[in-house]
């Protein structure tokens, strides 16, 4: 029963969405709307569940003094701080000038932007060590990266401004992005699309059951 009901729900919902795409009329459109609404409700509940789970794991880590428990303590403290401040400020807690807004603007935003900005350092280091003209394909990739990196920023335009329009780095970068790059992306997307179709069919028909957990 614990496996049969989820399989049934998945099969029915999946089949309705497939049919509704081709026949967007009653009763399939109505059922599709129901299931979309339910998905939003389940999604909202999942966020609460995820947050509570994070708290549970972090509190346990702090109590049992597991490795790096200090970070878990920061998570608990931050979670409680932002939740209490948000709740205390009522419905307008996200408006400019509120304490929640201050925390968002001056703590959360700089911290998370900093984490993302570290990528620049790793990209540079990885490019230095890994971008090698080892063979023909690698050389093509290297040249494409070279032209796109320079062509996508104003300096690429500035240093080739004296050249005819089609030969400037910015135009060359646009050409690479619009044609060879788009063709490659399209091939990948078609492959992914075919994979999604086959996997979805397996899930809808109950052949693929790994999402239920266990074997």
């Amino acid at each position: 029963m614990r496996r049969a009901i989820p399989l049934l729900i998945t099969g029915i919902v999946g089949a309705v969405f497939v049919v509704q795409y081709f026949v967007p009329h009653y009763p399939f459109n109505m059922m599709s709307n129901w299931f979309s609404d339910w998905f939003a409700i389940v999604g909202a509940c999942a966020i609460v569940l995820g947050a509570l789970n994070l708290m549970k794991i972090s509190i346990q880590k702090v109590i049992k003094r597991r490795a790096d428990w200090g970070y878990a303590a920061v998570i608990v403290a931050s979670f409680l701080l932002i939740t209490i401040i948000g709740l205390a400020e009522g419905g307008d807690f996200r408006d400019p000038g509120t304490k929640f807004d201050w925390l968002y603007k001056f703590v959360y935003t700089p911290l998370s932007s900093t984490m993302f900005a570290l990528l620049a350092f790793f990209v540079a280091s990885a490019s230095y060590r890994a971008f090698r003209a080892r063979n023909f394909e690698a050389t093509l990739l290297l040249l494409a990266a070279f032209f796109v990196m320079l062509g996508r920023v104003p300096v690429g335009y500035t240093i080739t401004e004296f050249m005819p329009v089609e030969y400037r780095l910015s135009d060359l970068a646009s050409w690479i992005m619009s044609f060879p790059q788009a063709a490659g992306q399209r091939a990948i997307m078609i492959g992914i699309g075919l994979g999604i179709v086959s996997t979805s069919l397996r899930v809808i028909l109950g052949i693929e059951r790994t999402y239920l957990g266990g074997d």
Binding site: S112, A120, F121, F131, V153, P154, V155, Y157, T158, Q185
Partner: protein
Amino acid sequence: MSIRAKELLVLGLIAVFSLIFYVGKVSGWKAVQFSTTVSIIVILLIVLSLVWILIKTIRGSLIERRIVFLYVGIAVALPLFMSLSQKIPISPEVKAVYDSIGELPAGSKVLVSFDYDPPSAPELQPMAEAFLYYCFVRDLKVIMIGLWPQGPQQANLAIEEVFEHEDIKPKNLKYGIDYVNLGYQAGNEFVIQRLGSDIKAMFPSDYRGKPYDEIPLVKNVKNFSNIDYCFNLSSGFVGTREWVQIAVDRFGVKLGAGNTAVQAPQMYPFMRAGQLIGLLGGMSGAAEFEYLTEWTGKGTKYMLSQSFAHMIVVAFIIIGNVAFFRSGRKSRLDR
């Protein structure tokens, strides 16, 4: 010095710098600005040091990874203090977004979906600000939503910034009449699917809790058929791909997008197929759009840093390949 002591020292330095920057921001300190001559001298010194590294590499001495990090840090930070200007070339995909908005008559309803969070804000927030500015300049009505939890907050920050502009202030734009923030809704692509049939079902109230039917701007907006244009700011899932697959393919929405530079290449097939009207890709896309809309924003300001960073990466790729060929194509630059 032990590793723990070094970590604490770095954390302390970060805290001190953060405090100084915060005090500077709230006190309205003016940033130090190098003159053009000083800027050029600094650039020449950096170029000379790179040439020196190249010569060292040719002689067989490899540089350490921390030197690459140092140069990237310099390339990103120093240009912020320089007073150099660059000519920004306009790409066709950015021009397409600009033109498509320009074609909308005044009073048209534009739905903007903020599907990103602060990590991507340095790239996407300038786009959001320039886009909203252009919409308000053209007297378009803006409906904002978020399919990422932090999206509505980013929308508020963009609105706050745009409303400070001297072109926007005299318009005296009113919440609920000229623009509205409907907040966040969980459900990813299913939310987009549902917007096609009933927007109110997904957003029964705005982000402050005001009922949908009491908001003059949207009370007669039933679904996508009442929306003239959609713009998606995205940095991942759920994002532009899902908007194309559902809003465009299913419901025939006119869609433009702004993406992070990492994600933008994946959208080119959609643009080539005509499913996506135009695309602002990364900070350079933001800078191009700012140039077109005449909005003075962070995209243009930060382009000098981006130009420098790209040149540094290209320089190190060249240096790395010199080392690779010099060592008989066997080099492993592990250091």
